[in-house]
């Protein structure tokens, strides 16, 4: 992408630690606050906040930590997470509601109900997941704000 495009783009980036349930939610809150500040309508902000939160929790619970970034311009909000965790063997299965591989520790805190990925997909206009077992996962979810 060229420098000209960069000018009108905001990028928010956070690195997320594995298993840090206490701080979880901070990155998605930051993204939400930024969207409110630039005047994104509430229903879109809400969808973006859910995507960011679920994606952030996936890094905490499954991904062994990683990075979450939001790229915002006047056309779309794109949320990208990358991790170098175990990867997802069967993406189609992971996208089914209620399917989970979360450990007992996560589940005991009310996380890992198998709704994360389906929730992200439901709230995004563009959804793409790229995963390789043993290498990690990259997730991209975008919302069109011109609609």
């Amino acid at each position: 992408m060229s420098d000209g495009e960069e000018k009108n783009k905001i990028r928010i980036e956070h690195s997320i630690a594995a298993g840090d349930y206490l701080k979880a939610g901070g990155a998605s809150n930051d993204i939400k606050e930024t969207l409110k500040m630039i005047g994104i309508p509430p229903n879109i902000t809400r969808r973006a906040a859910i995507i960011a939160y679920e994606a952030e929790m996936n890094l905490v619970i499954h991904g062994g930590g990683g990075n979450i970034a939001a790229n915002i311009d006047d056309k779309q909000i794109e949320i990208v997470t990358t991790d170098h965790g175990p990867g997802i063997p069967d993406v189609a299965l992971a996208l089914q509601e209620g399917y989970t591989t979360a450990n007992d520790n996560a589940r005991s805190m009310g996380f890992g109900a198998g709704m994360g990925l389906p929730n992200i997909k439901r709230n995004s206009d563009v959804f793409n997941i790229d995963s390789e077992v043993g290498k990690g996962t990259t997730l991209k979810a975008a919302i069109d704000i011109t609609k």
């Binding site: 630039i38 005047g39 994104i40 509430p42 809400r46 311009d73 006047d74 704000i145």
Partner: protein
């Protein structure tokens, strides 16, 4: 949102204690003088608690002036009865206060709170599970907080008017009286509830006085609660339970035709965390949520007199063991069917923070500039610039309501570089020309 806090500019010393107490960052202290940003204030009263110089006060009416005219028709907030001795039952209080020219309206309070609880139970039962939990509208600060910070949750707010307003309307309808009504309030948010008609139908309450002032005057006039426990004969009023956290939920659950799962939380931190969790859809299986921004519910309000800890104990004496009378549902059903008595006439609007610009691409550009300015700041949120955080100053700078040199660290850097320049200029000598050699 016009707020109900008055600022005494003579008492304000320009310290920044209040800055950080504000949950919505609505306060600025510029040039030693405090301003509250109307559009951000939710009337929670936190700033009043931390101001050591009483520069911030509740904007209520003068009790002496209201009382001097003789008979006062008063709506006692549910917190009122725990402000005296241990067994100040509402019905005994009414008898005692009549001799002081105060007619406290408790039958209509009971009816209005019953109606509100009954209507809420019906609304919960009629709401599809995926749209639950619904959120109480009893604490006006919570409603304002949702309008401002969690606009996505507006659809979760109960469609009912505040029971205090319902009570005023019911009393007027019953008595056909236009006599002034006075509300005794435990907090600034209920002052705004009465005075700000832009949010809802106009309130029919005219005066509003802090419980602190009223109770102070009454105690001085020798009003005391009976010392003996006459609990056996005493009527336990249901509405008085709403002063305690969980009281509203208990009242509503009693009218439920199925079991309700309710959650009651108090304090700003808990309220904000809870709202955020609802927003993220984490509270599935909960039917109703009762939030109060003050710790210990309304007993923690800034305008009450009695200790919030002790009033809890006292209120338990006054309300515990209340019962629903026989046939109450049959009595409430026809009033409930007349929805204009209890239902909110217009939807609650969202109050978005003023965006950086109406044009999204300009807003994005300003946001980028704001991030750059913020990145260059000390990030210690000291408050010396009069803003609650470095980020707030960065925001004010891009909104052209502040300058980078408002930050004393940036000012010092500026002075240092200026001083360096002065030294360089002072040491500067004209170069000798070739001819003079």
């Amino acid at each position: 949102m016009p707020h109900s806090i008055v600022i005494s500019h003579t008492a304000c010393r320009g310290c920044t204690n209040c800055l950080k107490s504000c949950p919505t960052e609505a306060i600025r202290v510029i040039n030693g003088s405090i301003t509250i940003l109307n559009e951000l204030c939710i009337d929670c009263g936190e700033c009043l608690r931390v101001c050591g110089r009483s520069a911030l006060c509740l904007d209520d009416d003068d009790w002496e002036t209201i009382h001097v005219h003789g008979s006062v028709n008063a709506l006692p907030d549910p917190t009122f009865f725990a402000q005296f001795g241990s067994f100040f039952y509402p019905d005994n209080a009414r008898e005692l206060l009549v001799h002081h020219g105060i007619n406290i309206i408790i039958d209509d309070m009971e009816n209005a709170f019953d109606l509100s609880a009954y209507a809420t139970a019906r609304v919960i039962e009629d709401t599809p599970r995926e749209h639950l939990p619904l959120i109480s509208v009893y604490c006006p600060s919570v409603v304002s907080l949702i309008q401002l910070e969690y606009p996505e949750l507006i659809s979760r707010l109960l469609p009912t008017e505040n029971p205090i307003d319902i009570c005023a309307d019911m009393w007027r309808k019953k008595t056909q009286s236009y006599a002034p009504l006075t509300l005794f309030t435990p907090c600034p948010s209920k002052v705004t509830l009465v005075r700000d008609p832009t949010e809802k139908r106009p309130s029919t309450i005219q005066h509003i006085v802090s419980i602190q002032k009223v109770v102070h005057a009454l105690r001085a006039a020798g009003i005391k609660a009976p010392t003996d426990d006459s609990a056996d004969e005493a009527i336990k009023r249901r509405f008085a339970g709403w002063a305690m956290i969980g009281g509203e939920s208990r009242h509503i659950s009693r009218f439920g035709r199925r079991h309700f799962t309710t959650l009651s939380v108090s304090g700003l931190r808990n309220t904000m965390d809870l709202l955020r969790q609802i927003e993220l859809g984490l509270l599935q299986g909960v039917d109703f949520v009762e939030c109060r921004t003050c710790d210990f519910g309304c007993f923690g309000g800034v305008a009450v007199l009695e200790s919030r800890f002790l009033s809890h104990v006292k209120n338990r004496n006054i309300v515990s063991g209340w019962k629903l009378p026989e046939g109450i549902e049959e009595r409430l059903e026809p009033i409930y069917n007349d929805t204009k008595i209890w239902k909110r006439s217009s939807p609650i609007p969202a109050k978005q923070r003023l965006p950086l610009s109406d044009d999204l691409s300009i807003a994005v550009a300003k946001m980028k500039r704001m991030e750059a300015i913020y990145g260059d700041m000390p990030h210690i949120d000291c408050g010396a610039c009069g803003r609650p955080s470095c980020r707030a100053l960065a925001e004010d700078v891009v909104r052209e309501q502040g300058d980078m040199s408002d930050c004393i660290f940036k000012l010092r850097e500026g002075i240092a570089s200026l001083a360096g320049q002065i030294v360089r200029l002072a040491e500067h000598q004209p170069k000798p020309t070739q001819k003079n050699i």
